[in-house]
């Protein structure tokens, strides 16, 4: 995208070390609150994740996920309420169906399907949230940069 007017804030990757960039979709009621809980309890975690808040994980559209990958995300995470706890009755059931589908698509496209992960995290699971972030950052570091990463975007 040559018409980009302002590039990203200077990255900390000046040393040349691979810094994974991860987009995480959080639902307003459980996982976003879980992320808040991680903050309240000061559960330290790597700073590679950028949260996009949606009201329900079922709002996350394949287009959002593909866009994140096309723009240079090394991984995309979807999080929501535990099955049975959905604030909107059964939104997460629909999320699960769509997730499995998109994962198989990524496979077809020749991308490591571990770059897309789904995890249920409740409002009280701040620690689990931090652990998931830590675990995923390690995993993505092992996988290396996304094959779709654009040159110049770090």
């Amino acid at each position: 995208m040559s018409e980009v007017k302002t590039t990203a804030a200077s990255s900390c990757a000046s040393s040349g070390e691979f810094v994974p960039k991860i987009v995480m979709f959080c639902c307003n009621w459980c996982s976003y609150a879980g992320a808040d809980g991680a903050g309240v309890s000061r559960f330290q975690q790597p700073s590679n994740v950028r949260v996009v808040r949606v009201m329900c994980s079922s709002r996350v559209d394949p287009v959002h996920i593909y866009t994140a990958f096309l723009e240079g995300a090394d991984a995309v995470l979807i999080t929501g309420c535990h099955i049975g706890d959905c604030h909107y009755v059964n939104g997460n059931d629909k999320t699960l169906v769509k997730y499995k589908f998109i994962k198989s698509m990524l496979n077809e496209m020749g991308m490591e399907d571990d770059r897309l992960m789904l995890r249920w995290i409740s409002a009280s699971e701040g620690q689990q949230f931090a652990e998931f972030v830590t675990e995923m950052v390690e995993k993505v570091k092992a996988l290396g940069p996304s094959p779709l990463r654009k040159d110049g975007v770090v």
């Binding site: 000061r42 079922s58 866009t67 629909k94």
Partner: protein, 1008 residues
């Protein structure tokens, strides 16, 4: 009930958290409120606190939105720096004379710029900083004071005292300083009064042994200011020499549990606040040694025991000993004298000693009680009855918070809501008679080009201590469409709101971004500010750089700053595509459902009915009364409550019934009442209160329960002695049976108090009986401490055992190791009473998901915020009270049930509900009527209808999706399911979300 000419207004005396909560509840249920505070600002002691237990929330952060809401509410009139001097009239028609002490400031002209402070030559001890730093004679009580006007302290002002100086008047550009102003008196007409005057911290000077004269012996309230980022030491804990202390001691029960100085009661909060402070020390300086000297560790509230366990694992030492004194050595060092585990005297040096001072009634309450004509107890707290914890001795005058007795913040908040419910019920006839009709200012035209304003919050050091805030501001100001970016110390403070207002006006902004904490708590505040400034509230966006950044990347400030910039860019990427949204007015069903017919459920139902609403009370058994139904000693109290419910024709009691198949949402729930497992009745209701209780653990084999015939639970024993059953010569109580263990780490809260009550009752009935209480910590908090003292005086023996060495019951012998005196005993017993844990109802696992509300891991209902919203859930219109929330005593259940009713009244009293603005909508020109959205909608909000569609000049009939705004809850799953992109969810639409996703990586001008 008050007479028909009652005044629809209430005076709340005391502007601390309790008073503010009462005021907000009443104002939101249709009453005018006068909030009277003697200090220059509202906020009370909570404003001074650093963090709050057990979540370690920043106290100012969670309090600020409430203070701001109270100060902005059209039906709350703040009367700060004011005192009540006289009361006349009677319930329903009181006249209160309020003395408005002069600030020597024309408050209408003071803008709170603070220029005068800089020029004032006189420095005096700052009360807000507990004397640790100085303020000027002209001052703000604290930087975020509400109202934001200065006050002159006449005792220290050189001009007022000696007629020399006058600097402040000279520098004031607005001529607001007026030395000749006098106190004014105003009479206000109210129907009821709530006294919520809070407490004063005990002054330890009289306990000379603790050497409060030494600069490194401080009170816990002073220590709050030590750790506070905006305190005198900027949050750096230090000794008087300015060094980080290596060893810090907390001495508990200073001014509590001490009959010699007429403070026989337990102050309830000190143990947990000491645990909190110790954890804050350990968080910042793990190497500092922290010891908490206590008689019993009383962490009895919800989550408090786990909170203390965490402190223990952080290395905090809990020492079961009350130091006899603090010695100051020749070199000025501090040494504590205390008794060790082997009864030896230990001298241990500490660099800083914190005295955990108790709570006491304000000295002014004696005078105020005289004016109001109400009774106080011997300590100066407001006297109430067990079954009416918010009612004073005079009808129409209520009480809440610590004014009534020591308690923590959630209990104060609950009681404050409870008092509001009682006052509201009393004045029901006059509800809405004085209500103000709010006019929303017209919206500014927003134009085509986004003009974005950005505020980056420091949140004291919460954000500013990690993230380089000026760098984020500078970065934000370079982003396209950003017209202005600036930083704030506390963006939620009242003065910031007026700056946001000005920014929107001055820069003609049509979008606004605040980078601060979580939208889950603070979004409504900023949305309201935008609205007042003529900006549609949905043109506002939050960037969470605290919970999601500074708090979790504490050790990598550079990366945190980088991430904060990204988060701000993301927010800007999204907000620029926002469009104005509007709610729709929806009908509201004005009746309530209460689940559970125990004390809590009955009380809640009675309160709601007295406030004028129909209630369906659903009880799963064939009887009302819950846990205490079988207890003779509660019979009279329970009968009164049951009678009240049964005789009120607004209350419909369904026995042997459960609620099932609940759908809908606040204001418009639908459900089925299933009676006797078959008969189903459909019901529409507006709100629901969950009061399903909890029960005593009945675990076979627990200390021989159900195997050894002499073993009874506390309730079984109480039932027996209420019937005057006697004959036990040796009764042994075992505390913490099934609580505070690995399976159930929580403290069941009520057992210690019940044990001493029952021990007293039995000892009085049978003076010759020997009674032993085997305990880990005796947790008779608040006034229940007097019962503990009484039990000891009656000769009940108390023996402390260790968690790892519990008593062993075999036949008629109980073996125990008394750790206080380090001796083993074999006690003869013909009755063993186990204080079995209070455990959550299994049925909660069904009710929780049905009502879409969460449970704790122990199965109790989890309120939305443990501190300030103790009976609310994230799901609107659903409330909790009583043991369903956590174990609690009779009077606490009553108080909380009243609170739940009060919160419910803030919804039921409205004429209509407003629909959420962020709904889905259909673009009929793109919809092909496939029905995929209809299939996935969990609320059946979408139907397919035949419509006349006009496209490209052609009109034709076609099937299209139609969304019902009353049923749509805005989850957005239909938008994902739509194959043509015809449905989108406002505020989370594809353009906005894609722009946000793309902005994660960089910022571009246009998405398409």
């Amino acid at each position: 009930m008050a007479n028909a000419n009652a005044v629809g207004a209430v005076a709340v005396i005391g502007g601390g958290i309790a008073g503010v909560q009462s005021a907000l509840d009443l104002a939101n249920s249709g009453y005018r409120v006068y909030l009277i505070e003697s200090k220059p600002s509202i906020g009370g002691v909570m404003a001074q606190l650093d963090k709050t237990f057990p979540t370690l929330d920043c106290s100012a952060c969670i309090l600020s939105p409430k203070l701001v809401e109270a100060s902005r509410h059209p039906d709350i009139k703040l009367m700060t720096y004011s005192e009540v001097t006289a009361l006349s009239g009677d319930v329903g028609n009181f006249t209160l004379t309020v003395k408005k002490k002069t600030r020597y400031i024309d408050v209408d002209n003071c803008v709170g710029c603070g220029d005068c402070l800089a020029k004032c030559p006189k420095k005096v001890d700052d009360e807000f900083e507990e004397g640790l730093s100085k303020r000027k004679a002209i001052y703000f009580q604290f930087p975020q004071a509400i109202p934001k006007v200065v006050t002159i302290d006449p005792d220290n002002c050189l001009m007022i005292k000696n007629g020399k100086c006058g600097n402040c008047a000279k520098v004031c550009q607005r001529g607001a300083v007026k030395y000749d102003l006098k106190d004014e008196f105003e009479d206000i007409e109210v129907g009821a009064v709530i006294m919520a005057t809070g407490f004063e911290a005990f002054n330890p000077t009289i306990l000379e042994a603790y050497r409060f004269d030494h600069p490194d012996v401080v009170t816990a309230l002073q220590f709050e200011r030590y750790t506070n980022a905006s305190g005198p030491f900027a949050g750096h804990i230090q000794t008087s020499k300015g060094e980080l202390p290596k060893k810090i001691a907390f001495i508990q029960c200073v001014g509590s549990r001490n009959p010699e100085i007429n403070r026989a009661y337990c102050s309830s909060v000190c143990c947990t606040y000491a645990v909190k402070q110790s954890r804050l020390i350990k968080d910042h300086h793990p190497e500092v040694d922290v010891a908490i000297f206590n008689i019993d560790l009383r962490t009895f509230g919800k989550g408090y025991e786990e909170f203390a366990l965490r402190a223990q694992s952080d290395g905090v030492r809990f020492i079961n000993s009350r130091p006899s004194g603090v010695d100051v050595k020749n070199d000025g060092a501090l040494s504590l004298r205390y008794e060790g585990a082997e009864s030896e005297v230990i001298h241990e040096e500490f660099d800083l000693v914190v005295l955990s001072v108790g709570l006491e009634a304000p000295k002014s309450s004696v005078e105020l009680a005289k004016i109001l004509g109400i009774e106080l107890d011997k300590y100066g707290f407001v006297k109430t009855d067990l079954e009416a914890p918010t009612e004073t001795s005079r009808i129409g005058i209520f009480t809440a918070g610590v004014a009534q007795g020591p308690k923590d913040i959630p209990e104060s908040v609950a009681q404050a809501s409870g008092a509001a419910s009682k006052a509201g019920a009393l004045l029901n006839e006059a509800r809405k008679s004085l209500e103000t009709v709010v006019e929303i200012p017209p919206e500014n035209p927003i134009g085509d080009e986004p003009r974005i304003g950005v505020i980056v919050c420091r949140c004291g050091t919460n954000i500013g201590g990690v993230v380089d805030v000026p760098a984020v501001v500078e970065y934000a100001s370079t982003l396209p469409n950003v017209v202005i970016a600036t930083e704030e110390m506390y963006s939620c403070a009242d003065d910031t709101q007026s700056r946001i207002y000005d920014m929107i006006q001055d820069y003609k902004l049509n979008r606004f971004v605040v980078a601060a904490c979580t939208p889950r708590t603070h979004e409504p505040l900023f949305q309201q500010t935008c609205q007042e400034a003529g900006l549609n509230p949905w043109l506002f966006e939050f960037a969470n750089i605290r919970e999601h950044c500074s708090w979790i990347h504490h050790d990598e400030p550079e990366n945190a700053t980088h991430k904060a910039k990204d988060l701000v860019r993301q927010a800007i990427g999204k907000v620029k595509y926002y469009t104005p949204l509007y709610s729709q007015s929806l009908p509201l069903v004005h009746n309530a459902v209460v689940l559970g017919g125990g004390v809590s459920g009955l009380t809640a139902a009675n309160e709601l009915a007295e406030n004028g609403y129909e209630v369906d009370l659903i009880e799963k058994t064939g009887e009302l009364g819950g846990n205490i139904r079988k207890l003779e000693s509660y019979k009279e109290k329970l009968e009164t409550i049951i009678q009240k419910a049964q005789s009120n024709d607004k209350i419909h009691i369904h026995y042997n019934s459960v609620m099932e198949n609940v759908s809908g949402s606040v204001g418009n729930f639908k459900g089925q009442i299933i009676t006797d497992g078959k008969e189903a009745k459909e019901l529409d209701f507006g709100i629901i209160i969950i009061a399903t209780g909890a029960h005593e653990l009945k675990q076979p084999g627990l200390f021989g329960y159900q195997e050894n015939p002499i073993v009874k639970t506390q309730l079984e024993f109480k039932e027996a002695i209420d019937k005057n059953e006697s004959g036990f010569k040796n009764v042994v109580f075992i505390q913490c049976a099934g609580s505070r263990n690995d399976e159930r780490p929580y403290c069941s809260r009520i057992c210690c108090t019940n044990t001493v009550r029952n021990a007293i009752q039995y000892k009085e009935q049978n003076p010759d009986a020997e009674i032993y209480v085997l305990y880990r910590d005796i947790r008779t908090y608040g006034m229940y401490e007097e019962q503990y003292t009484k039990a000891r005086e009656l000769g009940v023996h108390f023996m402390m055992y260790d968690k790892d060495e519990p008593p062993v019951v075999s036949g008629n012998t109980v073996a125990v190791h008394d750790r206080t005196i380090n001796l083993h005993f074999n006690l003869d017993a013909d009755c063993v009473v186990i204080s079995a844990a209070t455990v959550a109802e299994e049925g909660n696992r069904d009710v929780g998901p049905m009502m879409k509300v969460p449970l704790t891991k122990d199965g109790f209902f989890m309120e939305v915020h443990p501190k300030l919203r103790p009976v609310d859930f994230g799901t609107d219109g659903v409330f909790v009270c009583g043991l369903a929330q956590f174990p609690k005593l009779f009077e606490e259940s009553v108080s909380q049930a009243q609170a739940a009713a009060s919160r419910a009244c803030t919804i039921l009293s409205r004429d209509a509900l407003l629909s959420p603005a962020e709904l889905s909508s259909v673009d009929e020109s793109v919809c092909v009527g496939c029905g995929a959205c209809k299939d996935v909608c969990p609320y059946h909000a979408i139907t397919l209808e035949e419509k006349v569609v006009t496209q490209k000049g052609l009109s034709f009939k076609a099937v299209r999706s139609v969304i019902n705004p009353a049923a749509c809850k805005g989850c957005g799953c239909c938008a994902m399911s739509c194959p043509t992109g015809a449905i989108d969810q406002s505020h989370f639409d594809n353009v906005q979300l894609l722009s946000q996703v793309k902005s994660v990586f960089y910022f571009e001008e246009e998405v398409n």
